[in-house]
């Protein structure tokens, strides 16, 4: 079946008209962060059958609305009324309040800085459309960018546009996306691949899960554009098996797109074809590293290999391969649709656009946010995040997970960008921000991260395999207050060895949490140097 642009527009228009036919929409978050949503939806449907206005109201399941801490969240349109912590038992009351005064006890003020201070691009359709409905996505202007690209643009134009936008990889390293695309496009070889890295292993980061659960079609659209630009006809999405809902929605989205000829052969009547397959990850953080990811997609142990050659030249099955992360690709349709200049106009000089962060830990408004690059950590933590609960004080914000660092209060006014975070000894990473208050021991949290890196080390290279284990042993000595002076020196030199000689990014960045806390919170280590119990002294005392 070939579907043309006009037919897609028709589908979109039909859905828009259908939606406009309802006086009210009750949008219920059905992401992982809002449990019991099935019961809530059923309760609303039940309440509506008992209500006169029932036929004029549409209950829709939607993706993540961001403020997970207030979940389950329900949004009433067109009034833009947010209800928080909704239980199935609240449905009747909410329904009877439609068109009248909202239910005060459940009301979530929509003028909270959490909502007003954000700038949504990737998250724009979050909580607004049904993730399992292609028509919903089309009605919101979805696939316009992809179809325009495929039918009206040359690959080089697409790459130039992405390049001009200044988009950089959102998975961690921040490599310029346009440059990556053009390297793959220029690489020798007829067969090329696109691999989408959705193996979000960073503890404390869940933006990729939310994208897959809320707007899976946006990711497919990004992949379509990328594959067209680099000349690939086959793409893989490598998703964590720990995200069953995301996998289900993604599979459904691929089926829908295939049926509408937005995937498959001769897409929308063009000469361009693309198949997208899903590969399930199986619980190995190291598979976030691109060569390990390739090994895993090929069905083997997720063990990295030395680079060069880079995957752009020799990737999946030795062919040129473009590897981008979910959020990176989800940014692409917006850039094509609204223009590279729009995107480049957001953010800082070297870090363009917006970034999605998973704001968690000891913070009032835990959830998913999107802000322009360059917003300060203070604005994110204190305004959007609403500060620290329970009368506690801010101690540090951890970014970049086990590869990142802990940023103390004195640097809260730093504008967030790739450069600034790495200057502070941390990294942007995939966007996890874990806020910690004064009750958190830094030595504890670093020991936790080192245990993570040790367990996730693939074991191939010696510095990472044994080095992380020995760093963990040393940190345990600090944790149990049995460390001696020499241990600090040994720990620091081991950090440098592991950082400078490990084979892949996992090992190279594993010492970051230690180095950053040694930098900002050194006294916490020093006060734990009390040495082991000396049996001889003990005997003397007795």
């Amino acid at each position: 079946m070939t579907m043309h642009l006009e037919e897609l527009h028709q589908l979109a228009d039909d859905r828009r008209r259908e939606l406009e036919g309802f006086a009210h929409h009750i949008l219920v978050c059905t992401s992982l962060g809002c449990p019991k949503n099935k019961e809530i939806i059923a309760a609303f449907r039940q309440a509506l059958t008992n209500s006169e206005a029932g036929e004029k109201v549409l209950v829709r399941k939607v993706g993540c609305m961001g403020l997970c801490a207030a979940g389950p969240v329900v949004l009433i349109l067109p009034e833009e009324i947010y209800y928080q912590k909704v239980a199935p038992g609240d449905a009747a009351e909410i329904v009877s309040a439609l068109g009248r005064e909202p239910v005060q006890r459940l009301l979530l003020p929509s003028d909270l800085p959490f909502f007003t201070r954000q700038y949504k691009n990737v998250l724009a359709l979050f909580g607004r459309i049904d993730p399992e409905s292609l028509e919903d996505y089309l009605a919101a202007g979805g696939y316009e960018a992809a179809v325009t690209t495929i039918t009206r643009m040359r690959p080089t134009e697409v790459i130039r546009s992405i390049d001009k936008s200044g988009l950089r990889g959102r998975g961690g390293a921040g490599y310029p996306t346009g440059l990556k695309w053009s390297t793959v496009a220029k690489a020798q070889g007829k067969k090329k691949y696109v691999v989408c890295n959705a193996d979000e292993g960073d503890p404390g980061a869940f933006m990729d899960r939310a994208i897959l659960e809320s707007t899976p079609h946006a990711l497919l659209e990004g992949i379509l554009i990328a594959a067209y630009a680099v000349g690939a006809d086959c793409a893989y999405i490598y998703v964590r098996a720990e995200y069953p809902l995301a996998v289900r929605r993604l599979k459904r989205a691929i089926r829908e797109a295939l049926r509408a000829n937005l995937l498959g052969t001769a897409i929308c009547g063009s000469a361009f074809s693309l198949t997208i397959q899903i590969r399930l990850g199986a619980g190995a953080f190291v598979c976030g590293e691109e060569t390990a990811l390739i090994a895993s997609v090929e069905g083997g142990r997720g063990v990295p290999r030395p680079r060069p050659p880079y995957p752009a030249e020799k990737g999946l099955w030795g062919r040129p391969t473009l590897i981008n992360n979910v959020e990176t690709l989800a940014n692409v349709p917006g850039i094509i649709q609204r223009g590279a200049d729009w995107f480049a106009g957001l953010g800082t000089e070297k870090s363009k656009g917006t970034k999605v962060f998973a704001l968690t830990g000891t913070i009032n408004n835990a959830g998913l946010i999107e802000v322009p690059m360059g917003m300060t950590l203070r604005e994110i933590v204190e305004e959007i995040g609403g500060g620290i609960p329970g009368g506690h004080t801010f101690k540090a914000v951890q970014t970049g997970g086990p590869s990142g660092g802990c940023i103390p209060a004195e640097h809260l006014d730093t504008p967030v960008s790739y450069e600034n975070l790495s200057a502070l000894g941390s990294i942007m990473g995939s966007g996890g921000m874990i806020v910690m208050d004064e009750t958190t021991s830094m030595v504890d949290i670093v020991t936790y991260f080192m245990a993570f890196s040790m367990e996730e080390s693939c074991g191939k290279c010696v510095p990472c395999r044994v080095g992380t284990a020995q760093m963990h042993t040393l940190l345990k000595k600090f944790q149990t207050r049995t460390a001696i002076d020499d241990d600090l020196t040994t720990l620091e030199s081991l950090c440098h060895l592991v950082r400078n000689t490990s084979l892949c990014g996992l090992g190279q960045s594993a010492p970051n949490p230690v180095l950053s806390t040694l930098n900002y919170f050194r006294p916490e280590y020093l006060e734990r140097i009390t040495g082991p119990v000396d049996p001889c002294r003990q005997e003397e005392k007795q």
């Binding site: 000396d534 049996p535 001889c536 005997e539």
Partner: protein
Amino acid sequence: MNKPRLATLWLDGCSGCHMSLLDTDERLLDLAARVDLVYSPLVDCKLYPEAVDIACIEGAVSTAEDECRLRSVRERTKCLIALGDCAVTGNVPAMRNTWGTDTVLRSVYLEREALAARIPTEDLPLLSDKALPLHTFVKVDFFLPGCPPSADTIFSALTALIEGRSADLRLNTGFGT
């Protein structure tokens, strides 16, 4: 001029390193002329004296008593040498570390002993859970690995130290052999 005061100590080891020291043969006379041997399993002296210049320690630290002796030697000695693999790495005594002292004692004295099986304790210091190298507990100034380090190695190391050439102590010795 006072001669340097030399001590040697035998912790958990097989005494092979001391044998190797004796293997320096006629050079022993040479050594004897240049140092005062103030403490050693080879001499009759019960207490470790004060102000020792060089101490060679053979063996791993296997009991709390070993540890106490080591610590007190460290306090009274300028230059401490870990002599041989047991003192340097734990070596053979440390082979029990994998399974734990208790398991090893049971295996040796109970499970494989048909008659009067019992773990000897009388007049014996209690074994620690692990046998560990000296530098786990105290600062070690020089390491002489080898099982044992050869007589030549020991002799040239001691001569160098006596002559104050500690900085360019280059020894052809390694673990094992």
